[in-house]
């Protein structure tokens, strides 16, 4: 445990706060657009979703670690290091999400609990994707491919996700509640997937 505490500062210094911050700024810009008029208020749900996607893109960079191959040798196992990074990001994400929600005018705000569930699922999915990239490849910076994959997933899901299992529904839609049950499933799945992927493989694939 004391080792972990001593790790906090070094890990904090290696977290790519620049990428996360830039994504957060872009997200807040999108959320702030809801204050630009009545039509914008009607689009608030979509703008909030866009903001979530922007911040999730930033979180895809969370596990970027140029020193990955060096730190593989330290005695603290990878799950602890990943958990430490996530623990450092959680307060930042929570603060960002609060600000983003407050930027949306009171009357136009979608149900807070449900939209927070969507945001949580997207954020966890991004970090889980990065963990999977670290787990199954040798890349030191999984950020760019994972953010690309996240964007592709978002666009393709938006275009082709079957209506029977609708996820992206407007607030007044009667499927809203059912869609958020599905979001909960996505969140749970992403948490489990991320936890599984955070474990360091016993054997490393050897490449020549």
């Amino acid at each position: 445990m004391p080792v972990t505490r001593q790790l906090v500062l070094p890990v904090h210094r290696t977290v790519p706060w620049g990428a996360v911050g830039a994504a957060g700024a872009a997200g807040l810009l999108l959320a702030a657009l809801t204050r630009t008029g009545e039509t914008a208020e009607r689009l608030s749900l979509y703008l909030l979703r866009a903001a979530i996607l922007a911040f999730a893109v930033g979180l895809a960079f969370l596990l970027d670690d140029p020193a990955r191959h060096t730190t593989a040798a330290v005695p603290t196992p990878r799950p602890v290091r990943v958990a430490l990074r996530v623990a450092l990001a959680v307060p930042a994400a929570a603060a960002w999400w609060t600000v983003a929600l407050l930027l949306v005018p009171q009357g136009a705000r979608p149900p807070v609990g449900d939209i927070t569930l969507e945001a949580g699922a997207a954020f966890v999915l991004a970090v889980a994707g990065a963990a999977a990239a670290v787990r199954f490849s040798e890349v030191a910076r999984p950020g760019p491919p994972v953010s690309g994959g996240l964007l592709a997933t978002a666009v393709l899901a938006l275009l082709f996700w079957p209506g029977r299992w609708a996820l992206f529904v407007p607030v007044e839609d009667e499927r809203w509640a059912a869609a958020h049950d599905r979001w909960a499933v996505v969140l749970a799945g992403a948490v489990v997937f991320g936890a599984v992927c955070a474990v360091e493989p016993v054997r490393r694939r050897i490449r020549f």
Binding site: A40, A50, L53, V57, R141, P144, S147, L151, L159
Partner: protein, 504 residues
């Protein structure tokens, strides 16, 4: 040992035959191949081609209007554009990412020339998109029922969008040397597009790369009022100025590049201003004339005694209309069997593409309206309108029929089809074949009561020749006003209907 260099070293490329240009081209070829085989670009092309092939023919069937088909090529290439944006950005940052920037500076090509090679690789992606767009449009144009004219300006939008997005990604790589910038730019693009196309900004909407008019209204191509050519100029200017700015940012401070930036910015400005001019007074007058006095712009042809008046672009479709009129007349009895009709093509163009005002019924005798679309449900709708005019005398009277005459009318409308029940389902508003429902027509609709539907269904269940003979035998009584459905059934020798026989 110290070596003193008297003159500054000159890059070796200047003495090579072909000079740096050849090296840029070679690098551009390599980068194009790499760009087009990146996973995001491959996935985007696969989705684009798959989606386009799957959707082809769904919108207009075998009868596309090419002035609509050209616009349909615009939206999907944005997907490729976004993938190219990501990939070209990552390619331009490759040497930065791998820390080989310093190594490359000793090579023959300075950074701005390498940027030029990346820009050319984006052009390759845009050209490939252009091939896909040409294929998609060509397929529609080669359908035997295709009419109208496509516009080069509209067709260029797809490839130019790819060029614009790709060069924006390249400029981003020059400005922000970070991998997070491009994905964020994609998110911003995606949702700013959604944001602004969801708002009604009028002329300012044309600042977006793709302007879609969500409508099912087909207009003659000279009444569209879309500044397609100016918009293509605007997009091309914007894309090129972004590309040249990327060269400037990468250090290519040559007079030609400065001049290029100025020229392309002027292009953007000219295109941007000209495209937002709005509808010209001539266009408004032409739309008014085509909507109110179509006979002034139409030419008429006679086929078997009937007259067909169509806008010039629709003249090849007269044959299709004449076939339907012939079939409907062949089922009619009495005087209607020989009655000539005037088929008048009409369009409501006064509110532009986004308006969907209904057409009013015509009052002139034996004149029937046909719309600008054909195929699918439009065929039984037109057929019902012709039948109505044959029975009631004019369109206004036909659309207010509210008695048992609906039975022979609908028999004429769908009786000649190979699958009359399917035609009946398609022509009714709620896609039903039992109970009461509205019948769609090019102008106002009709209303079928439950009893009339029952009698018609019983008539359609008879062998076709038998049913036709019974209708012709009793034609005069069947088409007399105020007849009830029960009386029509009796005349036709069918069981009396049990359902409600009261129209709205």
């Amino acid at each position: 040992m110290t070596a003193v260099v008297e003159k500054p070293a000159v890059s070796g490329t200047l003495e090579e035959p072909g000079g740096p240009r050849k090296a840029v081209l070679a690098l551009a070829l390599f980068e194009s191949r790499r760009l087009l085989t990146r996973i995001p670009v491959l996935v985007a092309f696969a989705v684009y081609v798959g989606w386009t092939v799957w959707r082809s023919g769904k919108a207009w069937g075998d009868y596309p209007a090419l002035q609509d088909a050209d616009r349909a090529t615009q939206g999907a290439p944005m997907l490729i554009g976004l993938a190219v944006l990501l990939s070209v950005n990552s390619a331009a940052l490759r040497s930065h990412r791998h820390g080989t920037e310093q190594l490359l500076t000793v090579l023959v090509l300075p950074r701005w020339r390498r940027t030029a090679a990346h820009a050319l690789s984006v052009v390759a992606a845009a050209l490939l998109t252009a091939v896909c767009v040409a294929g998609q449009f060509g397929r529609e144009a080669l359908r035997p029922g295709a009419i109208g004219h496509g516009s080069v300006g509209e067709l260029l939008v797809g490839p130019l969008t790819v060029l614009l997005f790709g060069l924006a990604g390249l400029l981003m790589a020059g400005l922000v040397r970070s991998a997070v910038a491009a994905p964020l730019l994609v998110v911003l693009f995606l949702f700013l597009f959604l944001f602004f196309s969801g708002m009604d900004y009028g002329a300012a909407l044309w600042l977006l790369p793709v302007v879609e008019d969500a409508t099912s209204n087909t207009l003659p191509s000279d009444l569209l009022g879309r500044p397609a050519a100016w918009h293509a100029l605007y997009l091309a200017g914007l894309a090129l100025s972004l590309g040249l700015l990327a060269l400037l940012v990468a250090g290519g401070r040559k007079p030609a590049v400065f001049a290029g930036v100025a020229g392309t910015l002027a292009m953007t400005l000219v295109g941007g201003v000209a495209q937002s001019a709005g509808d010209s007074p001539e266009l408004v007058r032409a739309r008014e004339r085509a909507s109110v006095h179509p006979e002034q712009v139409q030419s008429c042809v006679r086929r078997d005694g009937s007259t067909y008046c169509a806008f010039p672009e629709w003249e090849p479709r007269v044959g299709d209309w004449a076939r339907v009129v012939d079939r409907v007349r062949s089922l009619a009895g009495g005087g209607a069997h020989e009655q000539d009709v005037v088929v008048r093509q009409r369009v409501e163009a006064r509110y532009g593409l986004s308006g969907d005002a209904a057409l009013e019924s015509l009052k002139r005798p034996h004149e029937v309206t046909v719309g600008t679309q054909w195929g699918g449900n439009r065929v039984p709708e037109f057929s019902a309108a012709v039948a109505g005019v044959l029975i009631a005398g004019d369109e206004k009277a036909a659309t207010s029929i509210c008695d048992g005459r609906i039975v022979p009318l609908m028999w004429l409308a769908v009786g000649w089809e190979s699958d009359p029940l399917d035609a009946l389902r398609r022509v009714r508003l709620n896609d039903t074949v039992t109970g009461s429902d509205s019948v769609l027509q090019p102008t106002d609709g009709l209303y079928m009561t439950e009893a009339q539907t029952e009698v018609l269904r019983a008539l359609l269940d008879l062998p076709r020749a038998e049913a036709g003979a019974r209708v012709k035998d009793r034609w005069v009584e069947l088409t007399a006003p105020k007849i009830t459905a029960a009386r029509a059934a009796e005349l036709l020798g069918l069981p009396a209907p049990e359902g409600e026989d009261k129209c709205l």
